[in-house]
């Protein structure tokens, strides 16, 4: 079960003065349950790419298979695809419109044809999932803060119970705490439900911290498609493509040049600290491997889900 793209091309406004070849011969596979990061300069084709995943944009040519079915075959059930692949756009809070948060989150499931009770139940779970406090459920979505609005908007997509969650720069414009909260929550959700997560971001640090694999887009083509360490090892090429490596990667390169025998492929702060301590040969007072694992799997602050809730969404 997966999303698979075969030689996919997309051209905006073909045969006009504005013709733009936005995606060029894309071949990709995103298996079920993976946490994939997509990075790329502005205009590299990231957003165009992800809009193909639920059929919002139809490829000019090439194939897109969802669970081994070509979605461009006549008679393909597009509605079902859109129920299973949930897309959270950039600045999703601009799409909030209902009189209160609860009604807004119910909008998706309502359109799926579910009964009022089912909609409400799903909305409650979705709101719990994004960690929005109960006192806001009946507030106007426009009275919420930026971070809360964004949570409400993400809940609206989660209430449709997607199997694949695609987020286009979900943390742009949020303060550091809001950014960590939302990403921790998504990571927790990913772990608890096995949902596939596709995260588009301009923050190399965030991508390095959360993604199992990174797809790098450059001028409409896939430039790299590999594990974070392998991708960020190409930091010079990434800079050419409008990107960068996480700050720690640069520090490690600098230290290596100065003669400290460190592994330059590390991408997160705790890995970097481990490496430096090892290279200095000092006694490491840091976390044990078990402690690190616990830290990585930390429960988001907004609270863990009850077993009952987890049972329902799995």
């Amino acid at each position: 079960m997966s999303i698979r793209l075969e030689h996919l091309n997309y051209i905006y406004s073909p045969k006009t003065a504005y013709e733009k070849h936005a995606l060029k011969d894309i071949c990709l596979e995103i298996p079920d349950g993976e946490f994939v990061g997509i990075i790329g300069h502005t205009g590299s084709g990231k957003s165009t790419l992800i809009q193909h995943f639920n059929g919002l944009i139809k490829a000019t040519d090439g194939k897109l298979f969802y669970n081994e079915e070509n979605i461009y075959e006549p008679g393909y059930n597009m509605k079902n695809l859109r129920n299973e692949v949930g897309l959270v756009f950039q600045y999703p809070e601009h799409q909030l419109f209902e009189i209160d948060v609860m009604t807004d989150v119910c909008f998706g499931p309502k359109n799926q044809g579910l009964s009022t009770e089912e909609c409400k139940e799903r909305a409650l779970i979705a709101l719990e999932l994004v960690g929005l406090k109960e006192k806001y459920y009946h507030s106007s979505p426009f009275e919420l803060s930026g971070g809360q609005k964004r949570r409400a908007a993400i809940a609206g997509v989660l209430a449709m119970r997607p199997k694949v969650l695609v987020l286009d720069e979900p943390t742009a414009g949020l303060d550091p705490k809001g950014r960590d909260d939302i990403l921790d929550q998504v990571a927790y959700l990913h772990k608890q439900t096995g949902m596939t997560v596709i995260l588009v971001s301009h923050s190399m640090e965030d991508i390095a911290r959360y993604a199992d694999r990174i797809i790098v887009m450059n001028h409409g083509e896939v430039m790299y498609n590999d594990a974070p360490r392998a991708v960020f090892a190409h930091y010079r090429e990434l800079e050419q493509a409008g990107l960068a490596a996480p700050q720690v990667t640069y520090i490690m390169h600098d230290l290596k040049e100065r003669g400290l025998p460190v592994d330059i492929s590390v991408t997160t702060v705790s890995e970097a600290a481990d490496e430096i301590m090892k290279a200095l040969g000092g006694k490491d007072l840091g976390n044990t491997a078990a402690e690190n694992r616990a830290l990585r799997n930390r429960t988001p602050e907004a609270g863990a889900l009850s077993n009952k809730t987890l049972e329902k969404i799995r």
């Binding site: 930026g146 409008g242 200095l280």
Partner: protein
Amino acid sequence: MSMIQAEKLVFEYEKRDEDGNVVGTSRAIDGVDIDAREGQFVAVLGHNGSGKSTFAKHLNAILVPTDGTVWVDGRNTKEPEELWHVRQAAGMVFQNPDNQIIGTVVEEDVGFGPENLGVPTDEIWQRVEESLKAVGMISYRHHSPNKLSGGQKQRVAIAGVVAMEPKCIVLDEPTAMLDPVGRKEVLKTVQRLREEKKVTVILITHYMEEVVDADKIYVMDHGKVAMEGTPKEIFSQVEKLKEYRLDVPQVTILADELKRRGLDIPAGILQKEELADCISSMILQDNSQRTEMDG
């Protein structure tokens, strides 16, 4: 001399119900004192809803104080007759480049500001050329802004402000929507304006890395100034910053972590080079100790 001075600034906005009746007031800024001297680079940090953007809007009189005073280049923003002077002294750059570009050709867009100030045509062209050079976009002068990258658009937006020759530029999260290189381009441009044109810069951002060179940082929380100091003073207080929903640069986190693990590293490291220097001096020390033992 102060370029920007806010004294006991208070701003309240009215809450209205659906029929437009006032149902109460909400205090977005609550007694803020902020001061930026001519040529300084001052950063304002704070979580979403802390009041920093509301503050920024006071600097060119988009909003005027409910109470207290804001002086821009010595002029009180509350005085209607000072409005044009204030707006000419302080130029604003916002988050979304697409909302700030109105021209169909880059040079026309940049000329829009000075044209509105009634600058003679010859001088407009001169200013357009100069400001596009200052932001490194002169080779795009005849391009359509639509086809530019986010970072390039944002630099054109900055050029549009520069062409009005403000003494002060206020940037409200100018890099939030940009990729890493776009972010770097914008910051370099700002840096250059400071050096070459001695422009006072007020930068509002959520990226801690961007403010390590600031002369002064203000941290806002719930409409008040919660912290004030140099980057070193501010970023050495990791726990306190976290309380205000903020963070420190990644290199500072790494330095902190190494310190916690027993390395002798000073607090408040902000630059990659600083940390690398610090660690390589340990290698040197280590080597010389070994040589002594061998001898």
